[in-house]
């Protein structure tokens, strides 16, 4: 007779799930529901007077050109950062994967920046590029280029893009390196014997075989740029000049915390929440099914 352990109780599975469920409800669902509820309210900063207004915060938001400006800024910022950090880290990973001296040393050094907190990264870059005191900006000036991220929106954008890209390269590098190491060497050797050049081997074999990693990283990077670059922006530009670096997340903070407009801020968070749900859905659908080896 076969021996099988069975659990008859209906309660036990739920009891085992309970801790995880509690954590999810308390830290994820409850704040999310609060945000949705708050987005239907107009309230003063102290919470002394509250009015239920249904979708007014949303209509107000979409009637303001600033919101679309911020959306556009976010799209530009995230696509530039995602593209740069993915391509630079892929290049670095491919190089580090070769048989070179001190390979492990390079790898370790390249992973380091990931340990730096975003706000600290922002301050580091600010020190280098601050218009009057920054070391790098002084060097740029001696070359005759008028570098001024305090007033020029493009300069400020370039600054946050550099800081955000630098910060993300390590993470991407790690995944690309792992992905490269899992590509069977025999396939590459076979094509080398057939006479394919290194560049051709990369584009026809390595790159397609890396596509699941690349796609996963693309989604992770976009989510990173949407949410985790807040510290960098706050420390370097504060969303300025003239909103040139104000992303959607920074705007939530700015309106809600500095402006005391909790309803409008909550409405923005709800929209962001919908975006992330969309991104995650795409990731699950495509990573699981469409991207093929």
């Amino acid at each position: 007779m076969e021996k099988r352990v069975t659990f008859d109780g209906k309660l036990l599975p739920y009891a085992l799930l309970l801790p995880q469920l509690l954590v999810t409800i308390i830290f994820f669902y409850w704040p999310a529901i609060q945000a949705v509820y708050q987005s239907f309210l107009i309230q003063d900063a102290f919470g002394l007077s509250t009015q239920f207004v249904w979708f007014e915060n949303y209509t107000l938001l979409f009637s303001k050109p600033e919101y679309f400006h911020s959306l556009l800024t976010t799209l530009v910022f995230s696509s530039v950062v995602a593209f740069l950090s993915l391509s630079i880290s892929l290049l670095l990973a491919v190089q580090a994967d070769k048989h070179i001296k001190f390979a492990s040393g390079y790898k370790t050094l390249l992973i380091w920046p990931y340990a730096v907190a975003p706000a600290v990264a922002g301050v580091l870059w600010l020190f280098m590029f601050q218009p009057s005191l920054g070391l790098v900006s002084q060097a740029i000036r001696t070359l005759g280029f008028e570098w001024n991220p305090l007033l020029d929106g493009n300069h400020a954008m370039a600054l946050v893009v550099m800081a955000a890209t630098w910060k993300q390269i390590s993470y991407n590098f790690l995944f690309f390196l792992a992905g490269l190491q899992s590509i069977p060497k025999s396939v590459i050797e076979a094509s080398a014997i057939d006479g394919a050049s290194p560049l051709r081997r990369f584009w026809t074999i390595t790159f397609p075989l890396l596509s699941p990693t690349t796609f996963y990283l693309l989604v992770v990077n976009i989510v990173y740029v949407f949410f985790d670059t807040f510290g960098i922006i706050d420390a370097t530009t504060g969303g300025g000049p003239a909103k040139a670096t104000e992303t959607l997340v920074y705007k939530v903070f700015h309106d809600g915390r500095l402006g005391g407009d909790l309803g409008g801020s909550a409405a923005q968070s709800v929209i962001l929440m919908v975006m992330v749900i969309g991104l995650t859905a795409i990731q699950f659908r495509f990573v699981e099914k469409k991207v093929q080896y």
């Binding site: 003063d44 002394l48 009057s132 020029d152 300025g240 003239a242 700015h254 915390r257 005391g260």
Partner: protein, 440 residues
């Protein structure tokens, strides 16, 4: 040995604790936003007060920048554990005033506690800023300042200018900055910290032109911004023109650019008189300050300046005995000698008339005229409806919007007129939103 000593100390502590339950001190939480030398001043004040009596104990906590402190206080109030005393910067005044029930007005606090309190003892320009139109003081003035022009005397002499005759008008200032620029300050002739406070708010008050209707918001929340007048446009246009060759150089929205003065990079800096402590500690050159410049063709200019800095708000819903302690602490702060000493050490304004007279009589200003500059500015002329002060809701966020528009103009993306029109329009929308949340 060590063990025995520790044991002894513990035993002593136990007996000390158990023997004085009747004399348990009432704790008063004071949240503040002062850093550096000014933080030391706050800590010292609390220590002195705690040493002066046994019933109450003031506990100070630093809560970050002014907006951070205010937001921490608001969040704490919503969570039901607000501090007793909260330091709020002047632009948060309208928000705090509108929060009836969340705050306890100072005049009421003093009356309830039976503390002697005469609003007339305080400098009118200071007390007026934090009082209702009926003259009831709502918050307790703490660190007050006004905006002044800081001058690098050495740089002036090098450029052939006389620091004893600082520029009086804006055109004079522009000329001086051009000369300074030619004499080696090619990255910054002059600069301004707090770009909106100096060039919109104080600018309007000093020229006796309305920043907003309804006495800049003091008479009611139904106020509308007015700072897109020809005079304002002319001033911004001048700054835009001078930005091109760095005769004027934009230095950010807050006071982070002040270091450009102490480092010697910018020989003229328009900023708060509270910059004094920093200049005294860090400037390695001879310096002085002077009143803010004005446009000579503007009728009535210069008028008088208005306040910056912060006041202490008492939060609502606390116990009577705690309020009594707060009232005692405010009386302690108002003491003439203490105020006179605070003024001469920190560079902030004396808040009582008696303290001002005392410092004046001591001849202190003869040797330190730069500490009197802001007081003379504030008292330059009897205030008009345009110069009593300002009280606009959503001011923190509004300042950012105004700064954004100024940045667009300085970067050449918008004309000065378009930038100010847009700043007024966007500001008015915020004022309406504020009016809506407070008038229900």
């Amino acid at each position: 040995m060590t063990f025995r000593r520790t044991l002894g100390a513990t035993l002593f502590a136990f007996t000390a604790l158990s023997s004085v339950p009747a004399l348990a001190q009432v704790e008063i939480q004071w949240w503040h936003a002062m850093t550096g030398a000014n933080n030391d001043v706050v800590v010292k004040l609390a220590e002195d007060f705690n040493a002066s009596q046994k019933e109450y104990k003031v506990v100070v906590s630093y809560k970050g920048s002014y907006p951070d402190t205010m937001n921490a206080g608001i969040a704490a109030f919503r969570a039901g554990n607000a501090p007793h005393i909260m330091q709020v910067f002047e632009v948060g005044t309208a928000t705090m005033m509108a929060a009836k029930g969340a705050v306890k007005p100072v005049h009421q606090l003093m009356a309830d506690a039976g503390e002697k309190f005469d609003p007339k003892a305080y400098l009118p320009a200071v007390a007026g800023y934090y009082s209702t139109s009926k003259g009831e003081m709502l918050s307790f003035p703490f660190n007050s300042s006004s905006s002044v022009m800081w001058i690098n005397n050495d740089a002036f002499r090098k450029a052939g200018l006389d620091p004893a005759k600082p520029p009086k008008t804006w055109p004079d200032l522009f000329d001086a900055a051009k000369k300074l620029r030619a004499a080696g300050h090619d990255k910054c002739g002059f600069a301004s910290a707090w770009i909106t406070w100096l060039n919109i708010e104080q600018f309007s008050v000093w020229h006796n032109v309305p920043l907003a209707t309804r006495s800049n918001g003091i008479d009611g929340f139904d106020t509308e911004l007015k700072f897109n007048s020809p005079l304002h446009v002319k001033h911004l246009q001048n700054l835009v023109d001078l930005q091109k060759d760095k005769t004027f150089d934009y230095s950010g929205r807050t006071n982070t650019g002040e270091g450009r003065f102490t480092s010697g990079e910018c020989p003229i800096m328009l900023t708060s008189s509270g910059f004094y402590g920093n200049v005294k500690a860090n400037a390695k050159f001879e310096w002085s300050n002077a009143a803010m410049p004005y446009y000579p063709d503007a009728a009535g200019a210069p008028q008088n300046s208005t306040l910056g800095g912060a006041s202490l708000w008492v939060m609502g819903g606390k116990k009577a005995e705690e309020y009594k302690g707060v009232a005692k602490f405010f009386t302690f702060l108002s003491d003439t000698d203490r105020q006179a000493q605070l003024h001469t050490v920190s560079g902030y304004l004396p808040i009582t008339l008696a303290a001002y007279e005392k410092v004046k009589a001591s001849g202190f200003y003869k040797a330190n005229p730069y500490l009197e500059t802001p007081i003379l500015e504030l008292n330059n002329k009897p205030p008009t409806e345009n110069s009593r002060g300002l009280r606009l809701g959503n001011m923190v966020q509004m300042r950012d919007v105004w700064a954004e528009e100024i940045e667009s103009a300085l970067a050449g993306k918008k004309s000065a007129k378009d930038a100010l029109d847009s700043a007024v329009k966007r500001g008015n929308e915020m004022l309406r939103a504020f009016e809506r949340t407070v008038t229900r």
